[in-house]
Amino acid sequence: MKNGITQADLRAMVEPDRVRRDVYTDAELHRLEIERIHETVWIYCGHESQVPKAGDYWTVQIGRQPMVMVRGKDGKVHVLHNRCPHRGAMLCGNQSGNTGDFFRCSYHSWTFHHDGSLKNIPMMESGYQGTRWGRDNPDCRMKGAARVASYRGFVFASLAGEGPTLEEFLGPARIAFDDMCDRSPEGRVEVVPNCFRVIQNSNWKIFMENQLDALHPSVTHQSTGRAARDVEVQIEKEGGVAPLSYHMLSAFATMAIDKWDLMTTINYPNGHAALSGYMGLRPTDPDTLEYERVLTKAYGEERKEKILTTNIHHVLIYPGLSVQSPLQQLRAVRPLGVNKTLTEIWHFRLVGAPEPIYRRALAYYNLINSPSTLVNADDLENFWKCHTGLESDGGDWVSFHRHNGRDVAKPGGILESPPDLGTSEAPMRCQMQAWVHYMTAG
């Protein structure tokens, strides 16, 4: 790809049903999309419960920018560039911790309040007298993200001063957080303080496109499904009851490939989307019944039913978040390069829900989302193969033709693939439409 990519070039790369391979492999395009997408739109930073006390911080990458999310003494969560305005050193070298009453640079002891404003510089009066530098200079502070907002405890930042609000950006994809939080009798979740970090040797979009791809599970995860089913049967023969996590795994094999068409994809504006499908998450064991009693007490019967029948498997918040709300976990995507992507994987506890409900979701977190994953091992293998294959001159296009033209338009800019078209590639098509929109905006 030559330098000087025009808007016409960008539009020509994405057709309604196919996409140029360069979109995944070209370094210059990657640089542009980091700037125009990741460093522009709302990006997930973390959950408020990651930083409960004043001075608590987590570092986070937004596009190319090392940032830090910190809790101030006033209780507010700030997102700042992790950079000293003096010589550029990062203020926080670790992933997380507590910075105390203020940030202190390890190089020359410049100090900053939690909102990024300057606290002190050693010998400031004598050192900077008669210069342009000092407390009155607006550059003499840790620069904040242009906009910070949170939705039900989930903190996002945008590096662009202008643009839709967080709620406008999320639109109906807010269901990711509503569904997760509503499942708590108190309507809120708390982070389980552990982050699994796994690197994919592939472009970030390949991951996002896989998340709602209902055709792949019975192929890619057949081996794990069969293995889990075998052992499930063995446990039953031994007179036991296999934990629900076995069922979540064995569904990959017991559900025939054509049955995956029974799911529905709901494609929201801005590239966000949801996949319906419940994988048997509402059994009638005593733990679940007790949980339902707790929810009924908190919400009443009707509202409880509405919450528990919300039919979501995955919600994608484009470009960088994959949320499994019924299991209270999410994966945040951090592009490290055109062919390298970091995923940060978190699990949340439903505040006020009985312990077994937490443990049930935890089993899924450990088996599917930990670095020893029984499932993602085969996904990551596919992602790497896709990325490497796309570097080949053997073809110029990626196909998203499946069920194209059969999507049903709903009010509010929503496109649905109706039941019996669940393996539609509509989510990928919609993501690419959002991609073109962001890449050619302004």
């Binding site: 552990n194 057949q222 794990t224």
Partner: protein
Amino acid sequence: MATTRKAALAAIETSGLRQAAEDFLYRQSELLDGKQWQDWIDLFADDGVYWVPAEPGHTHWDGVPAIFAEDQHLMTVRMKRILHPDAWSQKALWFTNHLIGNVQIVDQPAPGELLVRSRFHMMEVRRDNLRHFAGRYTHHLVQVKGEYRIRLQRVDLANGQTAYDYVLQAWV
């Protein structure tokens, strides 16, 4: 008390127990490197657990995030997945090489039981990529029908907190 414990450990030294523990650990690592998965699983007691903590401070495998926390049933799922003809990520040529050292018996929790601590280094080759995992094993061994079996194997990875470039498909 300290003297008694010291004397007990000295007795272990002369009793050949440490050698028995070393033999056990060497055999386990050979089975792993040899991909003899079922024989490896059989080293665990019926209620045995293989655990790689997500955080060094965790004291029990249950109820917390874990990199691995597997009973024999889950180990069997993992083995069967690896052996399935369509386990796509298993098509790649890969192997491991374990070295075990610094073997110490640190306690005898009950008659016939041993708490063994050791250090390991595992090199993994997958296609053209090399990775290294190292850390500490803690084996709680119990006697079952005159042979040692693992009640709990705790694996503290020295590099368990770093980002994983790709994932771990088999036990460390």
